[in-house]
C-alpha cells in the first residue's frame, strides 16, 4: 500500500528532528501551567487537553477505518455519568470508578459497535447520531437515577486541595491520558492490525477479499476508541463536578470532535491534537467575546462546512503539500485522490451505478 500521506513514508523529516519536535511539544504542554498565572487560563488549558483526548480517541475509528461517527459525544457522556454514578450511588473511590466506568463503556461498545458497524457510510453516521439522541432521551427522563435536568453533582476526588491545586492536578491527569491515547494510536498505526484497518478505509470489499477479518478489526478498534472516550468523559466528570444531560449527550460534542480531527488531519498522529488546539482556543475565545449565544453554532457549523469543502484531509496535509511544492520533491499521490481524479473525468453522478 503506497500512501504518501502516512507519517513514515514520503519525504518526512529525519527521526531525530521528529523526536526533538515531539520533545519540545511535550515540554511546552508540561510547562504551560507554570507559564500562566491566572487559574482561568489553566481551565482553558484543561478544556483544550480534554478536547484533544476526545478527538484523538475519536480518531481511532475515524482516522484508521474512515467510519465517521457523530455519536462519540454519547460515549464520553456515558463515561462521565458512569463515573459519577459509581462514586455517588455505589460509593467507589473516584479513580476506581473512572476505570470501572470506562471498562463498562468498553463492554457496552461491543453490542453498539456490532449493530452500527454492520452498515457502512451513511447508515453508520445515522446510527451514531441516533445513539446520542436516544441516550439524551433516557438520561433526561430517568431523573430518579441521573438527576435529570437538575444535574448530577460529583464529589471532588481530592477534597483537601484548594481550587487552583485541583486544576493543576487535573491538568496533568489530562496530559497523561492524552499521552496514553497518542501512544496507543502510534502503536496501532505501526502494527499489522493498523495496516488492516487502513485497508478497510481504502476499500473494505477488497480488504475482506484479501482475508482481513474486517468486522472483528472494526469492532476491536471501536471498543478501544469507546474506552478512551469514556476515560476522557469520566475524567471531565471528576474535574468539573457537575453533569447535565443536555451537555453530556449533546450532538455538538461529537461534531466538535469530528471538526477537530478533520481540521488537523485524520491520518496523522498529532492531527486531532492540533485541531483541538485551534478549535478549542477558538471556542473559548468565542465564549469570551460573544457569550453563550446561538452564534457559536453558526461558527462551529460554518467552520465544519468550510473544512469539509476545502480541505477534507486536514491542515497538516494541506500545509505539507504546500511545503513540498515550494521545496521540490513532489508527493506520491495517495489512492483516494487518484480515484477522485479518475472519477472527476466522468460526470459527477456516475459513481452511483458502480
Amino acid at each position: 500500500m503506497r500512501s504518501g500521506s502516512e507519517p513514515r513514508s514520503g519525504p518526512t523529516p529525519r527521526p531525530i528532528v521528529r523526536l526533538a519536535a515531539i520533545a519540545v511539544g511535550a515540554a511546552l504542554i508540561l510547562a504551560f501551567p507554570a507559564g500562566v498565572d491566572n487559574p482561568y487560563m489553566l481551565t482553558v488549558g484543561i478544556g483544550i487537553l480534554n478536547y484533544a483526548v476526545l478527538a484523538t480517541a475519536w480518531n481511532f475509528v475515524g482516522g484508521f477505518t474512515g467510519y465517521i461517527s457523530l455519536g462519540h459525544g454519547a460515549l464520553s457522556g456515558l463515561g462521565a455519568y458512569g463515573t459519577a454514578l459509581l462514586v455517588t450511588a455505589a460509593g467507589l473511590p473516584s479513580f476506581v470508578a473512572l476505570v470501572v466506568a470506562a471498562a463498562l463503556v468498553g463492554v457496552l461498545a461491543i453490542p453498539i459497535g456490532a449493530a452500527a458497524l454492520r452498515v457502512r457510510g451513511a447508515s453508520f453516521v445515522i446510527v451514531s447520531i441516533a445513539l446520542v439522541l436516544i441516550l439524551l432521551l433516557v438520561f433526561q427522563s430517568w431523573a430518579s437515577l441521573t438527576g435529570g435536568s437538575r444535574g448530577l453533582v460529583v464529589p471532588r476526588p481530592f477534597p483537601e486541595l484548594r481550587r487552583a491545586e485541583h486544576h493543576l492536578v487535573f491538568y496533568f491527569l489530562f496530559a497523561g491520558l492524552l499521552a496514553v491515547a497518542l501512544a496507543a494510536w502510534w502503536l496501532i498505526d505501526r502494527s499489522r492490525f493498523g495496516l488492516g484497518l487502513k485497508a478497510i478505509r481504502e476499500d473494505e470489499d477488497k480488504s475482506e477479499a484479501l482475508g482481513i477479518p474486517t468486522f472483528t478489526y472494526k469492532l476491536v478498534v471501536f471498543v478501544i476508541s469507546a474506552t478512551l472516550t469514556a476515560l476522557g468523559g469520566g475524567l471531565y466528570a471528576l474535574w468539573f463536578g457537575d453533569l447535565d444531560p443536555v451537555f453530556q449527550f449533546s450532538i455538538l460534542t461529537g461534531s466538535t470532535m469530528v471538526l477537530m480531527a478533520l481540521l488537523g488531519g485524520v491520518r496523522h498522529l498529532f492531527g486531532p491534537l492540533l485541531g483541538a488546539l485551534v478549535v478549542g482556543a477558538g471556542l473559548e475565545y468565542g465564549k469570551l467575546a460573544y457569550g453563550d449565544t446561538p452564534l457559536h453554532l453558526v461558527i462551529t457549523g460554518g467552520l465544519l462546512g468550510v473544512v469539509v469543502m476545502v480541505m477534507p484531509d486536514g491542515v497538516i496535509p494541506a500545509l505539507s503539500s504546500l511545503f513540498r511544492r515550494w521545496f521540490g520533491s513532489r508527493e506520491a499521490s495517495i489512492r483516494e485522490v487518484t480515484a477522485a481524479e479518475l472519477l472527476a473525468t466522468r460526470d459527477d453522478t456516475t459513481e452511483v451505478g458502480r
Partner: protein
C-alpha cells in the same frame, strides 16, 4: 383499562402523524436516490419553513398557509443551489460520508441563525381555528392536524404524479436507477439531480408549514425530527419510496399507540429501537434493494 375509543383515537392520530413523516421521509429518499447523500439538514429546513410561516403570519396577519407560494419556490431554488454549488463538488470517493458532515454543518448554521434572529423563545401561531376539532366515529381530531395531513397527502400525490407522469419525472427516475445509461440516452443527469434535490427540499417547505399549524416551534426542535426520520429511512431501506412510506406509517402509529401506556417521552424511543432492531436483523432495511446494501 384502556378503552377502545382511546385506542381508536390514537390510531387516527398515528395515521395523521405518519402522513407528515412519510412526506418528509420521501424528501430524504429523493436526495438519497439522486445523489447518494444523507441530508441531515432536512429537518433543519423543516423548522426554518415553520419559522418563515410563523414570521409571515406575524408580519401580515394572513393565514400561514399563504406563505407556501413563497417558501416552496424559495426552498426549491435553495435545494438546486445546494446540490450544484456544494454537494456536487465533493470528492466522489468519499461523498456519502462527507455529505453527511456538510449537511450536518448546514443544520447547525440554520439552528444557530434561527436562534440568533428569532431568539430561543418557543413560538406558536395563534389561529382562529386552532381549538376546533371534528368528531370522527368517536375520535376527536383537531382541524389543524387534518389540514396538515391533507397538505402532506396532497404534496405526496403531486410528487407521485411528477415522478410518474411527466418527462422530467422519467428523467429523474432514470437518473436514480442508472445514471450512466441515463446520460447515454441524452439526459443531463447533473441538472436533473439538482432539480431532484430542489423537489426534496420543497417537501420540507410544505412539511414545515404543516408543522407550524399545530405545534410549538423552537430552533433546536429539528433534532426531535431528524432522529425519527433517519430511523424511518433506514428501517424502510435507503432509497425505497414505498418502503419509507410504509415505515413512516407503521412507526408513526406505533409511537401514537405506545403513548397510552408509556407517555410521550418514552414512546419516542420506538424509533430508535426499530432502528437498532433493523440493523441487527436486516441491515439493508425491510424494503431496501441492491442499493441499500452498499450504504
Amino acid at each position: 383499562m384502556v378503552s377502545g375509543a382511546l385506542v381508536f383515537q390514537s390510531v387516527v392520530l398515528g395515521v395523521l402523524l405518519g402522513g407528515l413523516y412519510a412526506l418528509l421521509a420521501s424528501g430524504l429518499t429523493l436526495y438519497f436516490g439522486v445523489m447518494r447523500v444523507v441530508m441531515i439538514a432536512h429537518s433543519a429546513f423543516l423548522i426554518l419553513a415553520a419559522y418563515l410561516a410563523w414570521y409571515f403570519h406575524r408580519q401580515t396577519g394572513l393565514d400561514p398557509l399563504l406563505s407556501l407560494p413563497i417558501t416552496v419556490p424559495l426552498f426549491f431554488a435553495c435545494g438546486v443551489a445546494m446540490q450544484r454549488l456544494l454537494l456536487a463538488r465533493l470528492r466522489p470517493a468519499t461523498r456519502t460520508m462527507m455529505s453527511v458532515l456538510l449537511t450536518f454543518s448546514i443544520a447547525l448554521v440554520i439552528e444557530g441563525a434561527l436562534g440568533t434572529v428569532f431568539t430561543g423563545t418557543q413560538r406558536r401561531i395563534p389561529l382562529p381555528y386552532s381549538g376546533a376539532s371534528l368528531e370522527l366515529l368517536g375520535a376527536r381530531v383537531a382541524v389543524v392536524k387534518l389540514i396538515a395531513f391533507a397538505l402532506a397527502a396532497g404534496a405526496m400525490l403531486v410528487l407521485y404524479l411528477v415522478m410518474t407522469r411527466t418527462r422530467f419525472g422519467r428523467a429523474l427516475r432514470a437518473t436514480i436507477q442508472h445514471p450512466e445509461a441515463a446520460q447515454l440516452v441524452g439526459i443531463q443527469t447533473g441538472r436533473v439531480a439538482g432539480y431532484g434535490f430542489g423537489l426534496g427540499l420543497a417537501t420540507a417547505a410544505i412539511g414545515g408549514t404543516a408543522l407550524a399549524l399545530d405545534s410549538t416551534i423552537y430552533p433546536s426542535l429539528h433534532w426531535r425530527w431528524i432522529g425519527p426520520l433517519m430511523a424511518i429511512i433506514v428501517v424502510g431501506g435507503l432509497g425505497s419510496v414505498v418502503g419509507t412510506a410504509i415505515a413512516a406509517m407503521v412507526l408513526g402509529m406505533a409511537m401514537s399507540l405506545l403513548q397510552i401506556p408509556l407517555g410521550t417521552t418514552w414512546a419516542q424511543t420506538v424509533f430508535y429501537l426499530a432502528l437498532f432492531a433493523t440493523l441487527a436483523v436486516r441491515p439493508q432495511g425491510f424494503f431496501g434493494g441492491r442499493l441499500a446494501k452498499r450504504f
